[in-house]
């Protein structure tokens, strides 16, 4: 689905990403983790052609991502980013309908299939009762779900999410990640909360200062030996007795060497 091989990126002559390689398979949910400035968001931007890699290749369905036109890329990859609210207040339905943009020609009107697609997307994220509500009256969690609905209307092959749980309370954090999991669309999300990443993602990509430290299932990536130098704190990992998922706790005041 998505193959990233030996990708490096420099911005303003500074190395942002170095030699990153991983692949996203059908139905997988990959979490990109790492401290602030690790290059997580830059990697996402690179995957959706907002940045061009200096070396290496990003293959989307076996085609280099640079060969995609803007519209074709938007029909293949949908991005849920940290959106500021719109300049003028739109309704929930109007925002979700924006996902039709990559599929529509200049004078083409919405048809019944489009309306069905929008309704289904809003139903999947649980906003079908709020279609006429103004977006500035939605809660943070509802707004994030709306942006996911807009992405679903794009009918993408891959979903990219930039810190989708930021500024959300605990319930909404779980709700959003469970939703992404349940959608079954291959997804890649930058995440700050390592416990959430361990709980919902199939694989994790650990970055530190633009360098790939590890890529694999949570039990291979979330090890004390890997995390301590990256985050500069010692940590304790354990298997949650009820969830049977790896969880961890950071312990303060212990230094370490970065990878």
């Amino acid at each position: 689905m998505l193959n990233v091989s030996a990708v490096s990126l420099r911005l303003d002559n500074k190395p942002i990403l170095q030699n990153i390689s991983f692949s996203l398979q059908s139905g997988e949910f990959i979490g990109i983790i790492g401290p602030n400035g690790a290059g997580k968001s830059s990697l996402l931007r690179l995957l959706c052609n907002q940045y061009i890699a200096d070396s290496g290749a990003v293959l989307l369905k076996n085609v280099p991502v640079q060969q995609y036109s803007a519209a074709k890329l938007a029909r293949t990859v949908a991005v849920v980013s940290q959106n500021s609210p719109p300049l003028f207040s739109l309704t929930v339905h109007q925002v979700a309908a924006m996902g039709l943009l990559p599929r529509k020609s200049w004078f083409e009107l919405n048809n019944s299939e489009d309306d069905e697609c929008i309704n289904q997307a809003l139903q999947k994220v649980g906003l079908e009762h709020k279609t006429t509500q103004q977006v500035d009256t939605l809660s943070g969690g509802e707004l994030q779900r709306l942006y996911i609905a807009r992405a679903l209307v794009q009918q993408p092959a891959i979903l990219l999410l930039d810190e989708p749980t930021n500024h959300l309370d605990v319930k909404f954090q779980h709700q959003i990640l469970q939703l992404v999991r349940d959608l079954g669309i291959p997804a890649l999300a930058c995440l700050h909360d390592l416990n959430l990443a361990a709980m919902y993602c199939d694989k994790l990509l650990l970055l530190d200062q633009g360098v790939q430290c590890a890529f694999g299932p949570a039990d291979q990536v979330l090890t004390e030996a890997l995390l301590q130098p990256v985050f500069g704190m010692s940590c304790h990992t354990y298997l949650h007795p009820q969830l049977q998922k790896l969880q961890l706790t950071f312990l303060p005041d212990v230094g370490g060497n970065r990878c």
């Binding site: 959706c48 907002q50 036109s69 803007a70 519209a71 074709k72 890329l73 938007a74 029909r75 990859v77 949908a78 991005v79 980013s81 959106n83 500021s84 609210p85 719109p86 300049l87 003028f88 207040s89 739109l90 109007q94 924006m98 996902g99 039709l100 943009l101 990559p102 529509k104 200049w106 004078f107 006429t132 794009q154």
Partner: protein
């Protein structure tokens, strides 16, 4: 909520526009009744009694082209304002505050001083001037990526004043009695318009409206952020340049015929958003109708407030617009 009754609001506005156009034909130094206007319009100047020929000339050669020009000028300026506000994500953008009008005024002034006054050369000169103003605003705002509303606004105002001052300077030295002409370029008037004005402005207004309607989804996508729009497949730079060129062209054509009429492009889209809706189709069509309606009554006022003389349109639009501008700034706490 009013926005939900978009169809009815739109039908009501179109009806008001048609009634206003008809009523406006009766206003003026020679008073006409509605039945006389109907008679003159339906007979199109044929088979009229001799005493009706003067009235026929008044309706067909003076009032009708003037009213139709007011319709397309009001619609055009409001459409330009709506496009600029959405495209720059700046609720205070309009052709006047963006410097487009002053640039177009300077271009048309230069052409009128150097060449014999011709409609096409004036419009082209105005277009070149408007592009020059856009380039200046771009240069000042370079690097800010349209994020700072205040900087774009101040740059537009500064460019506007600078180019207006140059226009006035040129006219002052080029013509012995320049005051009238300076007034025309700074404040606007429909007194010089005729059927040629309608023939120039109507197609350009229609083309820009159709272009903006075609790009309605892209315009809506810009309401969030450039990055968000790009992820939906929008080439934001190309879109902005296309829309800026289109608004510069329409503003230039309007300015070359009617001078600089301020604040219509700022006020009308805000009113339309409140009553009609925010998305581009509603905004653009609503702005076209409400802008036309607004300009017809501004022109009626300009013709009727003082007996036997006209006041510049900009006096009325600036008065209304400046109060409106202050209200928006207060509401948005800029």
């Amino acid at each position: 909520m009013l926005r939900r009754h978009y169809g009815r609001m739109m039908a009501g506005a179109v009806f008001l526009l048609l009634v206003s156009m008809l009523l406006s034909l009766t206003f003026g130094s020679v008073k006409l009744s509605i039945s006389e206007v109907f008679y003159l319009l339906s007979n199109q100047g044929f088979n009229l009694p001799i005493n009706a020929e003067l009235l026929n000339t008044i309706v067909w050669q003076i009032r009708l082209p003037r009213i139709l020009t007011a319709v397309v000028v009001g619609a055009g300026l409001a459409i330009c304002g709506a496009i600029l506000q959405n495209a720059s994500r700046n609720p205070l953008a309009d052709p006047y505050l963006f410097g487009l009008m002053a640039g177009a005024g300077l271009g048309a002034t230069l052409v009128s001083v150097v060449l014999p006054p011709q409609m096409v050369s004036m419009a082209l000169g105005a277009f070149a001037g408007a592009l020059f103003a856009v380039a200046l605003v771009f240069a000042v705002c370079a690097g800010q990526r349209w994020r700072k509303v205040e900087i774009t606004l101040l740059a537009g105002v500064a460019v506007s004043f600078m180019l207006s001052a140059i226009s006035s300077f040129i006219l002052y030295f080029a013509e012995p009695f320049a005051a009238n002409r300076i007034m025309f370029w700074l404040m606007g008037s429909l007194s010089r318009t005729d059927w040629h004005s309608v023939a120039l402005l109507a197609p350009v207004t229609l083309i820009v409206l159709l272009l903006a309607l075609a790009l309605r989804r892209q315009l809506d996508a810009l309401l969030f952020s450039d990055e968000s729009a790009r992820t939906l497949g929008v080439n934001t730079l190309r879109l902005r340049l296309t829309l800026l060129l289109a608004t510069a062209l329409l503003t230039a054509c309007i300015v070359s015929q009617c001078g600089g009429i301020a604040f219509v492009g700022l006020m009308v889209p805000h009113i339309v958003r409140h009553f009609f809706g925010v998305t581009s189709v509603r905004l653009l069509l609503g702005s076209a109708v409400v802008g036309a309606l607004f300009m017809i009554w501004v022109d009626n006022l300009a013709r009727l407030i003082l007996p036997q003389q006209e006041i510049p349109l900009g006096v009325i639009t600036s008065l209304a617009g400046s109060v409106f501008f202050l209200l928006i700034m207060r509401r948005q706490r800029l």
